[in-house]
């Protein structure tokens, strides 16, 4: 990331500036750009505009009513009459738990693997493995792990760890446990991503900094605080932001494991959007939820930009 600015300065943008152009590059450039541009316009910008337009309408699948402009009705109703508010809170809770836990775990794994250990590559592969698993498969496997009754894998493991003190429960049908179960599944699948990004960040910290700190008599803990953490600033911001955004995009696990239940306890914004627009055919309301969801993501992206820019001003 830091290299990019250097590269841009070294190589001037555009065509060779000092040499006379023998022919215009514009026709070729447009020829190369058109397929991608067409795709972005038709399948990204058009539906994006449509989301905004539809969110002010009364569109329902198979409804005989004429299409009308209804103002902000969908937005106000979405927050009062649907599961959206609860879903947003669930997503927020999801982010508040998963982001710190997954980042801390990823950092711990990266620190463990950032030392000359035999079998380091094997460990790294094993921890990264779940990242390549499709979420739908991960969700189905964890449904089995969370199986109710004393025979369920997790129930049995917890019973073993507590010497039989654990009361077996039906995690996915329990209003308290449903959301944490989805969180645990997501952490297991995603932590390898944090690990590889932070490991790359650790390896980019110059060794001399640690040597200098050691010469100055800094303890391991102080080295971690004053060399490692500042050196990991940008990778940490990156993984925290990416995980936060993913926390608001959660859908596959919820749809497969709990369908948002019980009583919306594990419902999420995207799940509520699909349920409203697709299962119930209320497209306009779903479009309004899409816009709300996008605004949340935009807010997170703006925070990221601000954090990274501060860094630029300091250095």
């Amino acid at each position: 990331m830091r290299d990019e600015g250097i590269v841009r300065e070294r190589i001037p943008r555009g065509a060779p500036v000092n040499r006379p152009m023998r022919y215009s590059q514009a026709p070729a450039a447009w020829l190369l750009m058109t397929p991608a541009l067409a795709g972005l316009l038709l399948f990204l910008l058009l539906p994006f505009g449509l989301a905004v337009v539809l969110s002010f309408s009364n569109l329902r699948m198979g409804s005989p009513l004429p299409l009308e402009f209804v103002g902000l009705a969908n937005y106000t109703l979405a927050f009062t009459d649907t599961g959206l508010t609860r879903a947003l809170l669930n997503n927020l809770l999801f982010a508040l738990v998963v982001v710190p836990v997954q980042t801390a775990l990823g950092l711990a794994l990266a620190l463990l693997l950032n030392r000359p250990l035999a079998g380091r590559a094997v460990f790294r592969t094993l921890f990264f493995l779940p990242v390549v698993f499709p979420l739908s498969l991960v969700a189905v496997v964890w449904v089995l792990i969370f199986a109710p009754g004393p025979d369920g894998l997790l129930n049995a493991a917890l019973g073993l760890l507590t010497f039989g003190g654990w009361e077996p429960r039906d995690f996915l049908n329990d209003p308290f446990w449903a959301l944490p179960a989805v969180m645990l599944t997501s952490i297991w699948q995603g932590v390898g991503f944090q690990m590889v990004v932070l490991l790359a960040g650790l390896q980019a910290i110059p060794r001399q900094l640690y040597e200098a700190a050691a010469v100055d008599g800094a303890s391991r803990w102080r080295q971690f605080l004053h060399v490692t953490l500042p050196g990991l600033r940008n990778p940490l911001i990156f993984v925290v932001i990416v995980t936060t955004i993913l926390s608001f995009r959660v859908f596959d696990q919820v749809r497969i494991m709990t369908r948002g239940g019980p009583q919306d306890a594990s419902n999420t914004v995207i799940h509520e959007m699909v349920r409203t627009a697709f299962d119930q055919g209320h497209v306009a309301m779903g479009a309004a939820m899409s816009v709300v969801f996008f605004l949340v993501i935009l807010g997170i992206a703006l925070v990221q930009r601000r954090l990274l820019r501060q860094r630029g001003e300091v250095s």
């Binding site: 590269v7 060779p16 023998r22 215009s24 590059q25 514009a26 070729a28 450039a29 020829l31 190369l32 397929p35 991608a36 541009l37 795709g39 972005l40 399948f43 990204l44 994006f48 449509l50 989301a51 539809l54 460990f123 592969t125 094993l126 921890f127 493995l129 779940p130 990242v131 390549v132 499709p134 739908s136 498969l137 969700a139 189905v140 496997v141 089995l144 199986a147 025979d151 894998l153 297991w188 991503f193 590889v196 990004v197 993984v239 995009r249 859908f251 596959d252 749809r255 995207i270 959007m273 699909v274 627009a277 697709f278 497209v283 479009a287 939820m289 899409s290 969801f293 996008f294 992206a301």
Partner: protein, 278 residues
């Protein structure tokens, strides 16, 4: 600095092994479950037999093919992902090259557009896109699951960054020899950009192989449904046979695992550089 080097190493290993157990247990559980008689998968889940079975058979794998059209799911997934990766490499590399190397009116605006749409997550447009394409009657086939994902702002940006860093002397030599833009691109640029093509291909494949929301919205016939939808439906198909479901899972992840083992370096690098994986 290191007062107890051996103790530290032992501690690190102990921690790593503990984590390994946690990470590997679900995968092993799936693999072992796929080899056991259906009724034993859940019954033995609470015992060590969950990981060390006493009887092993491939019956569940046969059942997968008999009970659901697994071959069709696999074919659909391969076709859809082949289209996305194949066309995606071409279309996005074209755009990235035009943005990084050519001088043309509109370049700055196009670059700004690509960077701006990067922030739109697919979930934000899934519902209107579903409505838009249903409205023109385009749904329930392979193409509708692939074509909307060919042009990808992230892939364009990755190609753009890579082409910016390529030394331009080679291209200039080709131009001096009279080669046009397209010829220069295919003969000079593509062979020197294998790393970028590999990274983008893996990122596109990894992301779309697990795609679940879009096929859920757009397909109704089993013949065009991909594997993620297949396993989600299979896992609710009575009678619930966990051995069969785990066998489905193993078969489903096998193509990705093979690619992962062969191209591991690119996987890690690609994923680390983008962070698009859900």
């Amino acid at each position: 600095m290191n007062r107890w080097p051996r103790l530290r190493a032992a501690l690190a290993y102990a921690l790593l092994l503990a984590f390994t157990l946690l990470f590997v247990a679900p995968v092993l559980f799936m693999l072992v479950g796929s080899l056991k008689p259906d009724e034993l998968v859940l019954a033995e889940a609470g015992t060590l037999r969950a990981f060390f079975p006493d009887t092993i058979s491939l019956d569940n794998y046969r059942a997968v093919f008999e009970r659901v059209p697994f071959g069709l799911y696999l074919a659909s997934s391969l076709i859809i992902n082949g289209l996305i990766v194949g066309l995606g490499l071409l279309v996005n590399a074209f755009a990235g090259y035009a943005l990084a190397r050519l001088r043309w009116w509109g370049r700055e605006a196009m670059l700004a557009l690509v960077l701006a749409v990067l922030v739109i997550p697919f979930e934000a447009i899934a519902i209107p896109l579903f409505y838009q394409l249903s409205w023109i009657g385009w749904r329930d086939d392979w193409l509708v699951q692939a074509i909307p994902f060919v042009a990808n702002p992230l892939a364009i940006f990755l190609f753009y960054s890579f082409f910016l860093g390529l030394p331009r002397e080679l291209e200039e030599a080709a131009r001096v020899d009279g080669a046009g833009v397209l010829r220069t691109f295919f003969v000079i640029v593509v062979p020197n950009a294998k790393a970028a093509f590999a990274s983008v291909a893996i990122v596109l494949f990894l992301f779309h192989w697990g795609m679940y929301l879009w096929p859920l919205l757009m397909t109704t016939s089993e013949a065009v449904r991909p594997l993620p939808l297949g396993i989600a439906n299979f896992h609710t198909l009575p009678p619930l046979q966990w051995g069969d479901i785990m066998a489905f899972g193993v078969l489903m992840v096998l193509p990705v695992l093979i690619l992962f083992v062969v191209f591991q370096r690119w996987f890690v690098r690609g994923v680390a550089s983008t962070g698009i994986k859900g």
